[in-house]
Symmetry: C2
Subunit: 343 residues, 2 copies
């Protein structure tokens, strides 16, 4: 039988000490970390970038198929993704947790294993946080901090007319991974004896359970002297994020269905679920890819980059945002992404 240590055996300070006993400080910028009223960070003349996310059990995640270690990892990386989307380098995070007495120390340890794995992989220090009890379920609040040379950040606002629209990786996979996990959960609830049939769908399930922020894309852009004119990370689906860049720049834009990168496994699963794969790419969320615009003059450099697809371009001031299908039909883009309030 598994060990179960109750949280109240340690008390709040004991718990914090326990959870942070292996917390290393690796960055020269981290002057003072966990254990004081606040952490102290030196950005050595660079500007500071800050982003925060709140993740709520049964709104954002379902622990019946989400391993705690993966959840810890994902809670960190979705915030790092926002920092990369500013063209910045993440440097520190704070992590606050609230949990009911359903959670044991061993469960929290698993969660923190994932947190520390993400911090190590992306060279980020955990420098503060808060732990408390909740009325119900697990609540996770992460704030990520990053650095960027003075006025070099990339916002959602800067796209120019005729700038190319680029996206990293492939889209819609996380949404189909989620559909698959939800289907197997329903089957399990109805017939508990039946083993889940995940059909070796590693790409889609992996993209949902263990997304990676695109640090590699940011690095490639820097190495190739490409500064995006605008950028955003894909958390709510391509449509929703394109509309943010459209609104931010006040430029029209057009993207082409045939150019939108969709993984073969995503396409297969979409067929299985009778979903148009374009719809999963446009409206499925949690891809955590980067969507950005670059000047036409960067086309020669970017066209052969394996990490990135060019899917369209911006158009004139005040223009509309459109998608052109493979059958050459034009539609106005609509945001139908995740909306926690519509559930």
């Amino acid at each position: 039988m598994e060990n179960r240590t109750e949280i109240n055996q340690l008390g709040e300070f004991g718990l914090i000490e326990h959870l942070t006993r292996d917390n290393d400080i690796n960055r020269a910028e981290t002057i003072l970390s966990i254990g004081d009223d606040a952490a102290v960070i030196d950005h050595f003349g660079q500007q500071t970038v800050v982003s925060t996310d709140l993740l709520i059990e049964r709104v954002h995640f379902d622990l019946s198929y989400f391993p705690l270690k993966h959840l810890g990892y994902k809670s960190v990386v979705v915030n790092l993704s926002d920092i990369y989307a500013m063209n910045a380098e993440p440097t520190q995070i704070t992590l606050s947790l609230a949990f009911s007495n359903r959670f044991s120390i061993e469960a929290l340890d698993e969660f923190y294993e994932g947190v520390y794995a993400a911090c190590e992989k992306y060279n980020v220090d955990l420098v503060g946080g808060d732990t408390t009890s909740s009325q119900k379920g697990l609540l996770i609040s992460v704030t990520a901090i990053g650095k960027i040379p003075e006025m070099k950040y990339v916002s959602r606002r800067g796209a120019g007319s005729n700038d190319l629209i680029c996206v990293s990786g492939d889209l819609g996979a996380a949404y189909l991974g989620l559909q698959l996990l939800e289907r197997e959960k329903r089957i399990f609830v109805e017939s508990p004896g039946v083993q889940p049939d995940l059909g070796n769908r590693k790409h889609t399930i992996g993209r949902f359970l263990k997304p990676e922020p695109r640090a590699d894309v940011i690095k490639w852009l820097a190495e190739n002297n490409i500064t995006p004119t605008s950028m955003i990370d894909l958390s709510d689906g391509l449509s929703s994020e394109l509309l943010h860049l459209h609104k931010g720049s006040n430029k029209g834009l057009v993207v082409y269905e045939e150019k939108i990168p969709i993984h073969v496994e995503t396409a297969e699963l979409a067929e299985e679920f009778n979903i148009n794969p374009l719809v999963s790419a446009l409206n499925g969320g949690e891809d955590y890819e980067l969507l950005f615009s670059v000047s036409q003059s960067d086309f020669e450099k970017i066209k052969n980059c394996a990490l990135v697809s060019v899917i369209g371009h911006f158009t004139e001031e005040g223009g509309t945002a459109e998608v052109v299908t493979t059958a050459n039909n034009k539609y106005a883009l609509k945001a139908q992404g995740w909306n926690a309030f519509q559930k």
Copy 2:
């Protein structure tokens, strides 16, 4: 009848726009605020200070007697208090909220009124956050950011032997304010017709419902060229915080009951509740006063400061932490502060 607008009439982006429509940016350091993947802050060569807190309905606050506007205000100032406790100046906050469909737009507006009032009073910009639905109740996560000249922060670790122990304001008031509100709530629940009898206890109730962080003390110290050797804010009670400074410095310390500042209303209410006022000062939480140590050589400057009381001093390396009562008895200090996990 009061207006009630449902959250889902606006959607997530509409809600964020609504809540932040009057959000002003006042600080030169705030380069980019709400509306992008992250905010961008320039600290102009100063170091960055970061602190975060999670507040959960029915664990940290009870909406049956806590007005939403006050709750918004308090959520901000308890975080600013941590920044001041580093001897730093708060500059920005991020605010994340999760709430059930029990909350209307009007209720959120009230909460944000308090948030903006605190931001304005302490000259802090709201630069980011997240809003989502919760399974149950209201959850508030605030991260505060501040600035401090290079290596000038004051941690919990620096007290020297013989340093004086100082505390601002008066202690134990918030705890008794809470007791009073809880008593009147119980009476109301048992006999809904009976009006609450708060007996004009403005000081104690005010200290609980609308605490103010001690920006004035930090300013006075700077103006008088006093740099504390260690500092912490009083959120968990004097005992608990003294033990943090004791542990941080590895020095013994002694404080004197007769020197501990207790407001006359706190003493009266303590008698009414049959609580020793010393116990409310030592173990009551949420005073948000500053506890700090200064060198003996600063005594002449500090002894006439109306904002601060000298309540004891540090002793030898490795010594114990003790309180001396008015009757001249000595007790070892024990932390019996708030502990969300013991409830």
